[in-house]
Structure formats: structure tokens, C-alpha cells
């Protein structure tokens, strides 16, 4: 009887884990691991001296929080003229996924 409960518990946990995977936006993605930097935007504005960042994370594909907007990243560094924007996508086993933007400007 106890063995049946144990098997059912393991099956339930496995189903829960397999059915909800954290995903992240990336030009290329790995099923087990993703660690990719990519471009988002570039402008004709002259060189930058400030950098701002913002990120958002997803846990098990169930909960996702954060602010990875260009606006938030630019605001954090007091940037009013954007030079270019890069992104960094990270995903570990679909358990935790993080998307971070880096805004360069003046």
C-alpha cells in the first residue's frame, strides 16, 4: 500500500516537473542549458558612457516576474539617448529562465 503511494507521489512530481518548463526568448536555445547573448537594437546615436540593465525570470514555467523592458533599464542608469541594446538569455534545465537587457547610451 505504502509502495503504491510512493510510486504515485514520484509520478505526480515528475509530471509536474515535466509539464511546466521555464522558457526564455533567445535566437538559439538548448533543451538542457541556454546561455546566449544577442542583439536587440542599435541606433545612430553617438557613443555611450552609461549602461543600464533590467531582467525578468521564470521559475518552472509557473511564475514569471521582473522588468526587462528597455525603458526600465534606461531609467535605471539615467539614459536618455540610447546607443544600442543587447540581451542575455539563460535557462537551466527549464527550471529557472532569465532574460536580461543591457542598454547603452548617454
Amino acid at each position: 500500500m505504502f509502495k503504491n503511494f510512493k510510486v504515485a507521489g514520484v509520478a505526480l512530481a515528475a509530471t509536474a516537473l515535466m509539464s511546466s518548463c521555464a522558457m526564455v526568448q533567445s535566437p538559439v536555445g538548448g533543451m538542457l542549458y541556454t546561455d546566449v547573448k544577442s542583439p536587440v537594437a542599435a541606433t545612430s546615436n553617438s557613443a555611450s558612457s552609461k549602461v543600464g540593465t533590467g531582467s525578468a525570470s521564470s521559475y518552472l514555467g509557473a511564475v514569471a516576474i521582473g522588468d526587462a523592458s528597455i525603458d526600465a533599464a534606461a531609467k535605471a542608469a539615467g539614459i536618455t539617448k540610447i546607443h544600442h541594446v543587447d540581451a542575455h538569455s539563460k535557462n537551466i534545465l527549464g527550471l529557472v529562465a532569465t532574460y536580461t537587457v543591457y542598454v547603452y547610451g548617454e
Partner: protein, 181 residues
Amino acid sequence: MYMVNKKNYGALIVPLFFLFSLGASLTTIGQKIEKHYVSSNQSNGIIYFIKPQEGFNSPKNGDLVYDISYLNSSDSCSFLFSYFDKAERTLDSIGFSIQGQYKMLPVSKIFIETTKNVWHYRYRTSLPLDDISAFFAQTDSPPLLLASKQGQVNLSMKKKRWKKLSSINNRILLVIKHNRS
């Protein structure tokens, strides 16, 4: 039979403990610094950005998160910080404890926001690269001081956290110095 099992556990625990200790020490010494900063080539030089780091806090007041950016064609770097506190404040300056003495620097406001009952103060200051290097070169966790019209806030970092962060930052600052124009 029981005694044999007990002995086996003991024989396993000792090497595991040593392996764990070795792993922990190697992690501290050989930190991968690539994930802690980004750099970008600009027409006016290379810009370095040390990603946000947390750890400075005051038990009675609030927490501080900082990031550092440096353009290698200039002598000074920008130290930007977010300070979270329940109290309403007007920050004047920030003090870096270097060799037991505070180097007080004026701060300029980026924005102030409030969510629920916590205030988010976002400020910046600039200081010479040599000063920030001297700050992170200290072995004991140095305090930070925030001066405001409403009083001073002393922020400190746990020793273990400081050891890790200072090791990372020292190596990043070394890379920056080698690429300095």
C-alpha cells in the same frame, strides 16, 4: 552488521567532506568573472559594466544594490546604487571606507519611487578607478555610509559575501586596468 554499516558511513563522510571543502575553496579562488560583467567597444573606448551586486545592508534601515560602469578613456567610474528603505530620505553623499577613513562623495539623484511602504532611492556618484580598486582590495568587509538630512545610515556586508564579491571585482578591475588606454 550494524557496526559495519556505521564504519562504512564514516569512511564515506571523511573523503566527501574533503571533496566538498576543496570544491568550495576552488569556487572562491577561481570565480568565473565573465558572468559578472559585460563590456562593449565604443568609438570613445571600451565601456565596462559590473552587473548589479547586493550584500550591503543595515539591519535597522535598508538594503543597497550597486552596479559600476567604467569607460576606459576616462579616469573615473560611475557607481550607481539603489537604496531601499522604509524611511523618507534626501541623500546627500555616500562614504567609502578605505583604509579606515571615509571618502565622502556627493551623489546625484536618478529617481525616487515608492512601492507599498518601501522607498526606492536611485542615485549615482563617480569616483576614481584607483579608489574603487582600493575599496575592493580590502580584506575585511569595509562599511558604506549614506549621509542624508534625516541622519546617517551605516551599511555593512557579511564577511563571506565580501570575500566572494571582492575577489570577483578585483579580477574584473585587473582586466580593466590591463585594457586601460
